[in-house]
Amino acid sequence: MAGLELLSDEGYRVDGRRAGELRKVRARMGVFAQADGSAYLEQGNTKALAVVYGPHEMRGSRSKALHDRALVNCQYSMATFSTGERKRRPHGDRKSSEMTLHLKQTFEAAILTQLYPRSQIDIYVQILQADGGNYCACVNAATLATIDAGIPMRDYVCACSAGFIEDTPLADLNYVEEAAGGPQVALALLPKSDQIALLEMNSRLHEDHLEQVMEAASKACKDMYAVLDQVVRDHVHEVTTLLGE
């Protein structure tokens, strides 16, 4: 777009990163006392909070209970002050409902729901500051919160976005890069088995370039996995040291 170079000639992006570089990720687990599992994650300037309650008995309509697995109930919500313009409807609008559904589908693929028939697992995600990659930050935060709650999962779920500018795939797009309108791919991956939990692409991309972009996204997810794994190990180490094990 006019005036803003998303990728300079030397290969630097608007925030000084290289094409395949992720934003700085900071995460903490076990931040809230009331919830069974909670996590706070910052991916660059995007701040996401995830809280998990469960598994517990079905609330609301008993008829929705599944006889052989747990029901995963998600809610994605953005704080009204999280975006540049004040967001009128924090949840219930179309985009939030779509994100909620995507989160639910992603986690149903990863959580071992057969272990808890007729129960419910609630995953609530709140975005405090949005700077691109909202869905991905939510998935990563929710993975940490689910691990903190002690709910068994098949594998970590790591998510990252990727774009394509001037024949170069970019990993982990921020708000400026997303708003520029180029093709974007959001990928949620189970890293050890290389299985894709969710793949979403918008805008137009030539099929010859698809493989490059998918690879960039995959690599970014695996990098994210390394970071999240380290966070979990550090947290467990801290907790066991405090318990005096």
């Binding site: 809610q75 999280s82 709140q126």
Partner: protein
């Protein structure tokens, strides 16, 4: 053993502690939980503050927008508070429209703003009759462990102190507003209201800063809002067991001390982020 007794007879369990003039978490009857405040963490908001009162966590984000002043008072702006108690803060809240408690808290904050004159609405006017600021104050409770009203009032004060509004000038010829984002001014905070909440047990014992468990077992609650000159801004006593005037006077005395503690904390935090 103690855990079993607590589940079966929670009120008796509590009475045993109250007899010794202390509470299960080790606090005295007049002691507040550890209060921490973090200002300016949300850069997309014009002002923000995160307050933790023990485990209770409330984040306040303020966004400023333009609006036409109201017809009855053309030289005033608006302040619109909204408290949200989402299901993520506690399992007692269900997803859906704001429940009773959230709406009552929003109304309480609106009353505090109105009664304490923390900001004069005239200060929010840019051009009489044409343009004024509207400040949307959104509170999100992230962790619910009792005493939401105190946490929200404190977050409101801290966030308002953090707000930086850009200078707006009305162009004489075109009549349009010109916003200068580089020249920002802080708000003029006239008063510093601080809320202190008490829970009443068995119609006689008053404890300060109740946790969620204590609120459930209490027979009544009182919230007192004071400002700096020892002036009472509001007393909020929604039903519950009756209180004698003497007991109310004790509450007010405790509220005065609390005000000093909070004022010191806020000044310390503001000073620590001053270098800009």
């Amino acid at each position: 053993m103690a855990a079993g007794f607590k589940t079966v007879e929670p009120l008796e369990y509590y009475r045993r502690f109250l007899k010794e003039n202390c509470r299960p978490d080790g606090r005295e009857l007049g002691e507040f939980r550890t209060t921490t405040v973090n200002i300016g963490s949300i850069t997309t908001a014009d002002g923000s503050a995160l307050v933790k009162l023990g485990n209770t966590t409330v984040i306040c984000g303020i966004k400023a927008e333009f609006a036409e002043p109201p017809a009855q008072s053309t030289n005033k702006g608006y302040i619109v508070p909204n408290v949200d108690l989402p299901p993520l803060c506690s399992s007692r809240f269900r997803p859906g429209p704001p429940g009773e408690e959230a709406q009552a808290a929003s109304q309480f904050i609106a009353d505090v703003i109105e009664n304490s004159e923390i900001i004069m609405k005239e200060d929010l006017c840019i051009a009489n009759g044409k343009l004024s600021w509207v400040l949307y104050c959104d509170f999100i409770c992230l962790d619910y462990d009792g005493n939401i009203l105190d946490a929200c009032t404190f977050a409101l004060l801290a966030a308002l102190k953090n707000v930086q509004l850009p200078t707006v000038t009305i162009n004489e010829e075109t009549g349009l507003a010109e916003v200068d984002l580089k020249q920002t001014n802080p708000l003029n905070i006239r008063k510093h209201p601080v809320a202190t909440s008490f829970a009443v047990f068995d119609d006689t014992i008053l404890i300060v800063d109740p946790t969620a468990e204590e609120e459930d077992l209490a027979t009544g609650t009182v919230t007192i809002v004071m400002d700096e000159e020892g002036r009472l801004c509001s007393v909020h006593k929604p039903g519950g067991s009756g209180l004698t005037a003497a007991k109310l006077q004790d509450c007010i005395t405790r509220a005065v001390t609390r005000h000093k503690e909070v004022k010191k904390l806020i000044n310390k935090v503001i000073k620590s982020i001053k270098p800009k």
